[in-house]
Every structure is written in C-alpha cells, then in structure tokens.
Symmetry: C2
DNA sequence: AAAAACTATCAAGTTACTATAAGGTCAATA
DNA sequence: TATTGACCTTATAGTAACTTGATAGTTTTT
C-alpha cells in the first residue's frame, strides 16, 4: 500500500510517517521504480505501536529504546518496567508542579477586582513585587 | 552595571538576558564604547518581572502582552484578568490530561510482573494491542 | 607580558512535529 | 491528446524558550 492508505489505517499524517522513518522508528519500506514507498501490514503494526506510545506521551527516545528491547526477546523485561515507572514519575512530578502553579495563579487572581485601571491592577502589582527568593 | 552583575541580581543567565533583549522584552541597554551593555535598576526590575512571569509559566507572548498593557495605564485591567484566567484554564486542562495519562500508565504497569522475558512482557503486549478507536 | 575573567556576535542544537515550496507521477476526464 | 486533480517525492524553515558552542575582542589580575 502507498503512504496515503497507511495514513488512514494508522491515523498518522504522511509527513509524520516519513519523519518516523527518518528517525529510525519504522522499518524502511520498499520503493517502487517511481520512488513511491510501499508499506505492508508490518508497517501498520509498527505505526500503531508508536502511536499508542505517543498517546502515553512517551518520548521518541523511549520508543526507540522499547523497539530495541523487542529485538532481544529473551532478556529480562525489567528494563521496560523501569522505563514506564520512570515515565510515571515524570508525569506525577509534572502534575505536582502544575498544581502548585495553579494555586499561585489563583492566588494572583484574587489580587485584583473588576473595573480597575491598569495602573491600579493588583495582578500587575503582585507580579512586580520584590519579595521572593 | 555590566551583564555579569545583572545576572546575579536577576538570577537569569547572560545569554537569556540578551535573548530577552532581542525578543523586545527588555529595554535596550546603553552601550559603552567597547560595545559592552550597561544596565540600570530599571533593567533589574524588568528582568525580575519577566522572571516572576516565567515562574508562573506565562509565555513570552503573554509577557509581551502584559508589558504592552503597562504602557496604557488608564485602560481597564480586564484584559489582564482574562489573560491570567486563560492561563489558569490551560494549566487545569493540562493537569486533567496528565491525570488521565497517569491512570493509563499505572494500569499499563499492572499488565506485567517481575522476572518475565521480553517476549512475555505484558506491557509490550498491551502496547501492541489492536483495540482502540 | 601573560593568564584569567568578562564581554561580544553568530550559529546550531533541543522536541516532535507542521507547513511550505517546488516538482515528479498517475488516473481520469474533456 | 491535453489537462486536470489527486497523489507522491525531497528539501527547507518554523514552532518555544532557551542552551551550548565557537570564535574573538576587552579588561583585570598575576
Ligand atoms: Zn519519559
Ligand atoms: Zn487587575
Ligand atoms: Zn498562557
Ligand atoms: Zn514486562
């Protein structure tokens, strides 16, 4: 199949698919005499795998690592657990950080009321305060 | 003062300060005959303001908007409230999205146990599943 | 005088695409 | 047959906000 059909099957943009190929995440497809790429079901599977990983916001580096591990089927899968756990930790840390941010922003909002002029804006004043560390 | 001193006062890297100048976020400092930038207390204040905004993860575009508003002190500050509220909404949406992600990743982790070989890894199997939409 | 510290500019790398440009190929239609 | 339109190709640049590196000129210290 050509690239147009695999975009439909995989839900990925043609440019993105070529990009993954360039990044070494996708087995190189065969080429026709005219230069067109020819994909197989294997490519569909590979792209589905990548897409599922991306929806979990795994980085392309992480995905590359997973793909490499798949080629060593008899090693321990502990590395995979470690990778996913590391990713979970990143996500949790980011949630915590954003929750702190949300509190700060909400508190900032409470510094101002409607109908003020900009020179009296409590939000701007608060952003200008010297206090910190 | 030179750039080295203002890095200490502002907590920002010299390159970052030059970058902000290039981005039009910072009043252009005077130059000495040798080309060295000369900063004043005004620049320290401007950089502190930018830094505080960045710690709240406001974008440089948002900061540019805030700086522009400051030059119109008699307009209503409603736009500022809108900007910050919009930012809060972004943060909240991202938190929600990451919490969903965390659940999915935790559920993924439960698909595998220690001591398996990669070909039997439940995580990899799960990432390969066709089910979706 | 030589070395260390400071400053300058410019270019490239980071992430994972996305968009644009310019052009070759193919099938169907007028 | 000519041409339209859909499809494919490569290459380049842009996104966000820096960060790193290269190269070079200036000032201060030893
Ligand atoms: Zn990760
Ligand atoms: Zn206000
Ligand atoms: Zn924002
Ligand atoms: Zn496993």
């Amino acid at each position: 199949m050509h690239i147009g059909e695999i975009t439909k099957l995989s839900g990925l943009d043609a440019q993105t698919i070529r990009f993954y190929e360039y990044q070494g995440l996708l087995t190189m497809p065969a080429r026709q005499a005219n230069g067109y790429r020819t994909y197989t079901d294997i490519h569909v599977e590979q792209l589905s795998f990548i897409r599922r990983c991306r929806m979990l916001e795994l980085s392309l580096t992480d995905i590359r690592a997973l793909l490499k591990l798949k080629s060593a089927p008899h090693e321990s899968c502990e590395v995979i657990n470690t990778l996913i756990n590391g990713h979970i930790a990143e996500v949790q840390a980011r949630i915590t950080s954003l929750q702190t941010l949300e509190k700060q922003l909400t508190s900032l909002m409470s510094c101002c009321a409607d109908g003020r002029e900009i020179e009296d804006c409590g939000i701007l004043a608060s952003l200008h305060e010297k206090s910190e560390h």
